[in-house]
Every structure is written in C-alpha cells, then in structure tokens.
C-alpha cells in the first residue's frame, strides 16, 4: 500500500510569489491496484509523483510504502540516454536497478511491448511514440513492485494506446501496483480500478470511476470533472 499523508509542498517563484503545489494531499493506494491520478495541468500530479520518488523535499507530511521498496517510472517526456539501442536501454535499466540476471526479463518485455522490430535500433532514431513505448518498457523491465506512468498514452497513436492499455492489464494480472497520471478522461473507465482527481494540490475526489460518475461516456465524465474542478476553484 502507498499512503500519502498530509503532503505540503510550496515553491517560490522568481517574483517571490509562493505557489502551493501540494496543499494537504491525502491518498491511499492499495496493493495490486491500478490507480489513476487525473487533473488539469498544474494540479499537482507530477509533484506527487516526484514526492513518491523522493525527488523533492516535502514541507510537511509523509509517504508510507508497505510493499518492498522497488519503484519503476516512465515520465511523460522520455529522457532515455541517446546513442543506445532499444535492447541496450532495457539492459541498462535492469543494471541500474541492481538486477544481475535479466535476459528473460528483457525478452518478455520486448514481447509485451511489441518491440521486436525496434530492438536493434538506436533510440535517437525512433519516433516520439516509439520512444514513449521504449520509455514505458524500460520502467517495467526490471519488474518493480510499484510502476508509475506519467501520462502514458499522451504521445501515442491509437494503436500505441491500445497496446499500452493491454500492457497495463497484463501488469495488473502479474500483481503489480500501477499508478498513472492522466488528463485523458476517456482512458479512466477502461483502465483503472480507482481514481483520484487532483486539484490545487489536494485530492478533490478519490474512489471508483463508477462512484465518480455512473455514466461512463466521455461527455458525462468531462461534465462531472469540470463541475468538480470549478466547485473546488
């Protein structure tokens, strides 16, 4: 389980203005759950993820992780090292995370993400969508207990999005806990068990998608989301 307790984080801008990125953020994510963090740009989603990876020092609050402490992350904009092939990137990812034997893991990941034809290509020569696929693959290849994706489907074409959706389902069936941030509400009913709406550094809603909105049509979700966000404003 991941438990976020009363997280506070503020930043000072160049004009000495204080921005509260997290303002009393509370959330619980159970094991083997696919959890979505939805919210508008600047809501605090990425700050929460950074806090989870201890990349920022919180002003207040704490994060408890009860599972073994192994995390995987794929950012929205892939930042893979250049001049390496896809297969080498997966190998590097395994070694960076401390794995010693990883050939089977790499082969399974190549299969899962359908990277057969790309595995010997340099990452720098790939398209944006394919880089995103490799980035996601490199985050799961070493089988972390908790996998975090930041906007996993944002740079992908419809086929790529379909693939990622099947990957998320596969990872869930393997027993991983998955957390992903998104602003594509259409993905929510199909992908996640639970969701949270993050707004102004707080959780405006947390629960099942059906609890958020009975009607799973995109229009109804968007309307409900807009209402919630404007109420919280």
């Amino acid at each position: 389980m991941i438990k976020f307790e009363n997280l506070h984080k503020s930043y000072k801008t160049k004009d000495n203005e204080i921005i509260k990125a997290l303002d009393g953020f509370n959330l619980e994510i159970s094991d083997n759950e696919v959890f979505a963090l939805a919210g508008i740009n600047g809501a605090g989603k990425t700050t929460v993820l950074k806090a989870l990876f201890k990349l920022i020092n919180l002003d207040n609050g704490k994060i408890e992780i009860t599972q073994p402490n192994s995390l995987g992350f794929a950012p929205e904009i892939p930042d893979l090292p250049e001049f390496f092939t896809v297969k080498e990137i997966l190998e590097i990812s395994c070694r960076l995370s401390g794995k010693k034997s990883y050939n089977d893991l790499i082969n399974k990941t190549i299969e899962l993400f359908e990277l057969h034809t790309l595995q010997n290509k340099l990452v720098s020569t790939l398209s944006k969508g394919n880089k995103q696929r490799v980035s996601l693959a490199s985050a799961v290849v070493y089988k972390p207990d908790i996998i975090v994706f930041d906007e996993p489907t944002s740079g992908l074409d419809p086929l790529g999005r379909k693939l990622i959706k099947s990957v998320i389902k596969e990872l869930k069936s393997e027993g991983h806990t998955l957390v992903f941030s998104t602003h594509i509400l259409a993905d929510l009913p199909e992908l996640c068990d639970k969701m949270a709406i993050v707004h102004k550094g707080k959780v405006a809603f947390s629960g099942k998608v059906s609890e958020f909105c009975n009607d799973k049509s995109l229009e109804a979700l968007e309307k409900k989301f807009a209402n919630l966000v404007s109420l919280e404003a």
């Binding site: 930043y11 950074k50 990876f53 990349l55 920022i56 020092n57 995390l71 995987g72 992350f73 794929a74 950012p75 904009i77 930042d79 893979l80 090292p81 250049e82 001049f83 390496f84 590097i92 990812s93 070694r95 960076l96 995370s97 401390g98 010693k100 490199s138 985050a139 070493y142 975090v148």
Partner: protein
C-alpha cells in the same frame, strides 16, 4: 551501489565513443602534430623537446575542451529543464549519479590522453628511433589535474547553470595557480584552511619538472583526496535539492 555507478560511467563512455569524441579530438591533434614535426624536420632539424612541448600543450588544450564538452552534456544535465528521471527513478542514492558521471567522463579523458601520448611517442619514435616516456608522464599529470577540475565542475553543476559554472571555473583556475602567493597574503590559520580547500595547480606543474616517482604518487593521492572532497560536497548539495 557499485553496479549503478559503473553503469552510469559506462553510459558516459559508450555515448562519448559512439559520438566519435575521441576520434574527432585525434583528428584535430594529428594534423597539428604532423605540421609541427614537418616544420621542425624541414627547417631546423627534428627537435624532440619542441615536439613534446607542442604536443603536450595541444594535449592539455584538447583535454580541457573534452572535459567541458562532456561536463556540459552529462553533468549539467537539466538543472533548469526537466528532471533526469531515467536515472533518479532507478537509483537509491543521488550521489551514485554524480560519481558515475564523474568516473565516466574521467575515463574518456584518460583514454583520450593515452591515445594522445601514444601518438606523440610514435611520431618521436618514427623520427628518432628512440622511445620517449615523457609524453605519458605529462599525460598522467594532466589527467590528475583535470580530474580535480572535473570534480569542481561536478560540484558546481549541482547548483549553478553551465554559464555560471564556467564563470566560476575561470577564477578558480587562476586562483589554483596563485596559492603560494595568496598564502603569503593570508598568513593565518583561517587563510590556511580556506586555501587548502582550493585546488593547488602548482603541485602539478612542479610534478612535471620533478622526476621522482614519489612525487607522482603524492599528487595522485592529492588529486584523489581533493576530488573525493568535492564529489562528497556535490552529493550533499544534490541530496537536499528539489529535482
């Protein structure tokens, strides 16, 4: 902790080699050396001393360029851009990122200097039929000195931008050659402590002129100690930084 450090160092080395950094440095070095040799051979006769001076001067210049290029690319990753998630989401310690990068750049620098020294010795050997080891000794001392500068660059990269760091490096570089003079200006314990925390490049200059092996060992230890000090400081700064 060791495996991720080695991995990061390998990434730096392979990326640099695949980009052709060492080869391009050699391509610059080779015609210059050849030109110096032809000039000497055709006008005043071949002079080993002149060629070693010109060659090691070039070695030093190209190494500092390499150091800057690699530091800019690998150390000053994206302080004002996005977080390098690829590393930080997988590493248990932020310091291992810095150590890995430092070792990787250092290895490329070492490789480049070995090739330069080999090239210089080869030209001398072909001309005079005698093996001269002086280029290797000078290459080793240049490497030690620049390893120290690299560790300072590593420290600066944790809180300054590229431009600011270069701006800071210039006075540090000049101060490093003026330590004895500055010590005479500050003959108290405070000055002694402050100046002993700064790099002393005079030690490396002296090592080039001195033929004792014990002196080389001494500057090797000095370089390792000071570099470790700066990298430790860099690790402490990065640990408390929001990424």
């Amino acid at each position: 902790m060791l495996q991720p450090i080695i991995e990061i160092a390998k990434i730096v080395v392979f990326a640099s080699l695949r980009k052709g950094l060492v080869v391009s440095a050699l391509l610059i070095m080779f015609p210059l050396l050849l030109g110096a040799w032809l000039f000497e051979a055709s006008n005043t006769g071949f002079q080993t001393g002149f060629l070693i001076d010109a060659g090691t001067g070039l070695m030093s210049l190209l190494s500092i360029i390499t150091l800057c290029v690699l530091s800019f690319e690998h150390l000053f990753w994206k302080v004002d851009q996005q977080t390098p998630w690829f590393y930080f989401s997988r590493l248990k310690s932020r310091t291992s990122f810095l150590i890995g990068k430092y070792l990787g750049i250092n290895f490329v620098l070492c490789l480049e200097l070995i090739v330069f020294a080999l090239l210089l010795s080869l030209i001398i050997f072909v001309t005079t039929r005698s093996m001269v080891l002086l280029p290797f000794k000078i290459a080793f001392i240049i490497w030690l000195e620049y390893s120290l500068l690299l560790s300072i660059f590593t420290l600066l990269s944790t809180f300054l931008s590229k431009l600011m760091s270069v701006g800071m490096m210039l006075p540090i570089f000049f101060i490093s050659y003026s330590i004895p003079y500055l010590k005479s200006l500050m003959p108290n314990w405070f000055g002694e402590i402050i100046l002993s925390l700064l790099p002393n490049s005079n030690l490396f200059e002296f090592a080039i002129e001195n033929n004792e092996i014990s002196y080389l060992i001494l500057i090797l230890l000095y370089s390792i100690f000071m570099s470790s000090f700066y990298i430790t400081l860099a690790g402490l700064v990065l640990r408390h930084k929001d990424l």
